[in-house]
């Protein structure tokens, strides 16, 4: 009966949802303090390599305003 098959599919959906939640609940987690500390370390370690952070001297900046060429 159509009623049956509709409830069957909602049953399947509910079963899938429970399975998914079980999976997510079993994920290994670390403390925020540890995760935050690692994010901070990564940032600081790479900060000197970050041109947007440290600024790029005009001579190296590929996007510096184009200098006009003087044809002699």
């Amino acid at each position: 009966m159509s009623n049956n098959s509709a409830s069957n599919s909602s049953l399947a959906i509910a079963q899938k949802a429970v399975k998914q939640l079980r999976l997510e609940a079993s994920v290994r987690r670390i403390k925020v303090s540890q995760a935050a500390a690692e994010l901070k370390t990564f940032c600081l370690q790479n900060a000197h390599k970050d041109p947007l952070l440290t600024g790029v001297p005009s001579s190296d900046n590929p996007f510096r305003p184009p200098k006009s060429c003087v044809l002699l």
Binding site: L11, R29, K31, A35, L39, F42, N46
Partner: protein, 335 residues
């Protein structure tokens, strides 16, 4: 028959209660580990000085809103796509247009540069992702060499090459993401789990495996559409930008949101986000025509950039981190 139905209803109710308990257990577990805020950990970190970021280049040429852009690995080329159906490859240093392709549809919402720099992929309302090899011969008709790779049942919202030119990841309004082989156009893997349109995707920086597929974590704290997601450079976290005017940082190992970047004065949605090379800066393109730059660790706004005359629709930091480019509904791109 009646008893079967009753049984079914009972099992359904039982499953429902189980899922409710699991959900609250999840919340509990996550809350237990929430012992400190990110900005508290970052208190001792030196603050960032004043930033002066100026528009160095303005790329004009699109006839309508710029919807998406991507950098080439050579750090100077950019591909952009627009509502006018055109996909243009620019040289950002000289502002020259190197290639232009006209798509058969308007609203090209996604475009990506291949890692080799030899091809671009794009798609939108045509529900497909097509790959165009770029040739140096200006006279060659690029559209003739087009290869249709992905087929979805709704619009294509984002696409990205994996580490090679041979595979493409796509996300669509039909709620799924899919991995395709470029050569054969075959569907390699499909990812379900979203309840509505998938608007954006990003690959972890170290993604080399080919067997991903299971949804392992899900995060629900935004109050509205999430328009953009971007992995943190270390791969352990990601940021998202949403119509609720906030950007949030989620840590994958702590399995929760660790920071919110918002201000009462910001009421317009975020259309796209990207990190600077070190992950210290988070750039957000907003619908109020501005770009806000956030200090990721401290949670404060570092700078606000003006320049576009309409909403910023897409934003990407260049591969070497020396610049970032934004595309906007004002038909231009700025570097």
């Amino acid at each position: 028959m009646a008893t079967q139905e009753v049984q079914l209803n009972e099992t359904l109710a039982h499953l429902k209660t189980e899922s409710e308990t699991l959900k609250s257990k999840l919340e509990e577990e996550r809350a237990k580990l929430h012992d400190v805020e990110l900005h508290q950990v970052a208190e001792k970190v030196e603050g960032l000085g004043q930033f002066v970021m100026k528009t160095r280049r303005t790329l004009k040429g699109h006839g309508n809103k710029v919807l998406c852009m991507d950098w080439c690995k050579d750090k100077r080329r950019i591909v952009s796509s627009s509502q006018d159906g055109k996909v243009i490859v620019w040289d950002a240093f000289t502002t020259n247009k190197e290639h232009a392709v006209t798509m058969p549809c308007t609203w090209v919402m996604a475009c990506a540069y291949a890692p080799s720099g030899c091809a671009v992929a794009c798609g939108g309302l045509d529900n497909k992702c097509s790959v165009y090899p770029l040739s140096l011969d200006k006279n060659e008709n690029l559209a003739a060499k087009k290869k249709s790779v992905a087929m979805h049942t709704n619009y294509l919202s984002a696409c990205s090459f994996t580490n090679s030119d041979m595979q493409i990841l796509t996300s669509s309004g039909d709620g799924t993401c899919a991995l395709w082989d470029v050569e054969s156009g075959q569907l390699l893997q499909s990812f379900h789990g979203h309840a509505a349109d998938v608007l954006c995707l990003d690959l972890a920086p170290s993604e080399t495996g080919n067997t991903f597929g299971q949804c392992i974590q899900s995060f629900e704290t935004h109050e509205s559409d999430i328009n953009s997601v971007r992995y943190y450079p270390s791969g352990d976290a990601f940021a998202s930008g949403s119509d609720d005017a906030t950007c949030r940082l989620y840590d994958l190992r702590a399995d929760r949101e660790v920071a919110i970047y918002s201000k009462e004065s910001i009421i317009f949605g975020v259309s796209s986000v990207d990190f600077s090379l070190s992950g210290r800066l988070l750039f957000g393109g907003y619908n109020d025509y501005t770009i806000n730059v956030w200090d990721v660790l401290k949670g404060t706004r570092v700078s606000i950039l003006f320049g576009h005359e309409n909403r910023v629709s897409t934003l990407r930091v260049s591969p070497d981190g020396t610049a970032f480019s934004t595309g906007s509904w004002d038909h231009t791109l700025r570097v």
